[in-house]
């Protein structure tokens, strides 16, 4: 009897100690919500006033899908989001914008605030992402902003059949861990190009590391010929800009008014434009990714 009491006491003490240490370890990062969707586990975390959406992976380095600054919601947390907005220099008032991969819906919100007349269509494969974007990231649907739960490739193909056109396509379907292989191929990018209006712009958020870099870059180059690339100064991703036009170059010709608007979101466009380059720094002999050959996840 006495022994069992001892065991119980030591177990309780052990549990208390563990609880204490684990609380210490996660004192900063709070898991606000966790949701199991059919594709993945999605976690909403908060840390020092920054709320993020994470896709749970077994990797130690978790990649944030979307983040907002709770104290200053208009401040954009991600460099790539800031970089993507430089696309407004190409066309400050796109009539129709297509966002493939919603995340927290930050891009849709900001573009709507800057260009309220733009019709914005966001497409995401995962209904849970759209739900959480609304609940935790203030993503709002309205007359101008609509969401569709679809595979991006299917949406693009269907939109082509319906003869739709977009002035700006933002491709943001990479979660940093798994890459949808059918969204990296020459055929898919050709479909995106066909969906762009004349002089329409494509901005693709993607990564700038590993073997895939060469394959991905030559594939974009093959379809669009000229690319301008925003390289995030501190993070390992980039935004590839390409255009359905001849002689493309993304130049800093933002109006002072637009510059002013962008600075509200913490954007220093002059500084960001310095991170844009048209330099070809990849192996141009790398194999182009096609529907027939796209082992993207094996090439990472």
């Amino acid at each position: 009897m006495r022994t069992s009491k001892k065991v119980i006491t030591s177990l309780v003490l052990c549990a208390a100690a563990q609880l204490f240490t684990s609380n210490l370890a996660f004192a900063k990062l709070v898991e606000v919500h966790k949701e199991r969707s059919i594709y993945r586990n999605i976690v909403i975390t908060e840390n020092k006033g920054i709320r993020c959406m994470q896709f749970e992976t077994r990797r130690k380095k978790v990649s944030n899908q979307a983040c907002i600054n709770l104290k200053q919601p208009e401040q954009l947390v991600f460099e790539y989001v800031q970089g993507t907005l430089l696309g407004l220099a190409h066309n400050p008032t796109p009539k129709r914008v297509l966002i493939l991969g919603l995340g927290g819906g930050t891009l849709a919100n900001v573009i709507h605030q800057i260009s309220p007349t733009s019709e914005i269509v966001s497409v995401d494969i995962d209904p849970a992402v759209v739900k959480l974007a609304k609940e935790y990231f203030d993503y709002q649907e309205n007359q101008q902003i609509k969401s569709e739960i679809k595979d991006a490739r299917v949406f693009v193909k269907r939109a082509l059949l319906q003869k739709q056109q977009f002035d700006w396509i933002i491709l943001d379907a990479f979660n940093g861990d798994y890459i949808p292989e059918h969204l990296m191929t020459q055929e898919f990018l050709t479909e995106c190009k066909r969906l762009l209006s004349a002089n329409g712009l494509l901005a693709a958020n993607t990564f700038s590391t590993s073997d895939l870099y060469d394959h991905e870059s030559v594939t974009y180059q093959k379809v669009f010929n000229q690319l301008d690339i925003f390289k995030a100064p501190t993070k390992g991703n980039r935004v590839i800009f390409a255009c359905n036009c001849d002689n493309f170059s993304l130049t800093n010709n933002l109006s002072p008014q637009l510059n002013n608007q962008l600075s509200r979101y913490g954007l220093d466009s002059n500084l960001l434009f310095e991170s844009i380059t048209d330099m070809v720094d990849w192996d141009v002999t790398a194999r182009v990714l096609t529907d027939e050959y796209s082992p993207a996840n094996l090439l990472k």
């Binding site: 595979d151 059918h182 055929e187 096609t290 529907d291 050959y293 094996l298």
Partner: protein
């Protein structure tokens, strides 16, 4: 010798069917995406095809089973793969335009392209059981051993295709590779039949001479 050939053929059929199934996902993705229901469609079609194949193969094995008939199944399976190489894109395009819901779209598309070849490939397992069974008593053991061989083939077909073949070859090239495996199996079965027949007839002739 004949036993070994049948085992090898059952293994190759297992390999081919799963390699084909994995490519199915790749082939459908550009049209119907890689959502969970696309994989649902593919697996449904392949399971349905295998069940029909087992049924037909079993029935076929009742009437005078032979290596030549076994070889013919491989010939038909190889030929049934060809439409997926030449016409799958056009078929997918048609289905995509016809059915808007990607669930039923992918189901119909997968049925059109993958059902027939998988039914034929499914016939191989029960037929090989019949070819190897020598007595009622050992029939369960034979069937178990052949399930082991063909499922092992499927496991290797899955891992080889998803880990390596897609890295080494294009989708169409892998389909041609499966075609080549099935065609070689047919040739091997025919050759074995001819050889064993020759040996048997020679033996009979020799027996007649010595008498």
């Amino acid at each position: 010798m004949q036993k070994l050939i049948v085992i090898l053929l059952a293994f190759s059929a297992g390999f081919s069917i799963m390699s084909f199934e994995l490519l199915g996902g790749r082939m459908l993705a550009p049209y119907f995406g890689s959502s969970v229901y696309v994989w649902g469609s593919i697996i449904t079609v392949f399971m349905l095809a295998l069940s029909l194949g087992y049924l037909t193969g079993g029935k076929l094995s009742v009437k005078q089973p032979s290596l030549t008939k076994f070889a013919s199944i491989f010939v038909v399976a190889a030929l049934a793969i060809l439409p997926s190489i030449f016409y799958s894109e056009q078929l997918f395009e048609l289905v995509f335009a016809w059915i808007e819901d990607p669930r039923y779209g992918s189901l119909v598309a997968a049925t059109l392209v993958f059902l027939l070849p998988s039914v034929v490939m499914g016939m191989i397992s029960p037929y090989s059981v019949r070819l190897l069974t020598v007595s009622t008593q050992s029939s369960g053991q034979t069937a178990g051993f052949l399930y082991f061989i063909s499922t092992l083939g499927s496991a290797i077909g899955t891992i080889m295709t998803s880990f390596y073949l897609v890295l080494w070859m294009e989708v169409s090239q892998i389909l041609w590779f499966i075609f080549a495996i099935l065609a070689s199996c047919a040739v091997l079965a025919f050759a074995t039949f001819t050889l064993t027949n020759k040996t048997t007839s020679q033996l009979t002739n020799n027996a007649v001479v010595s008498e």
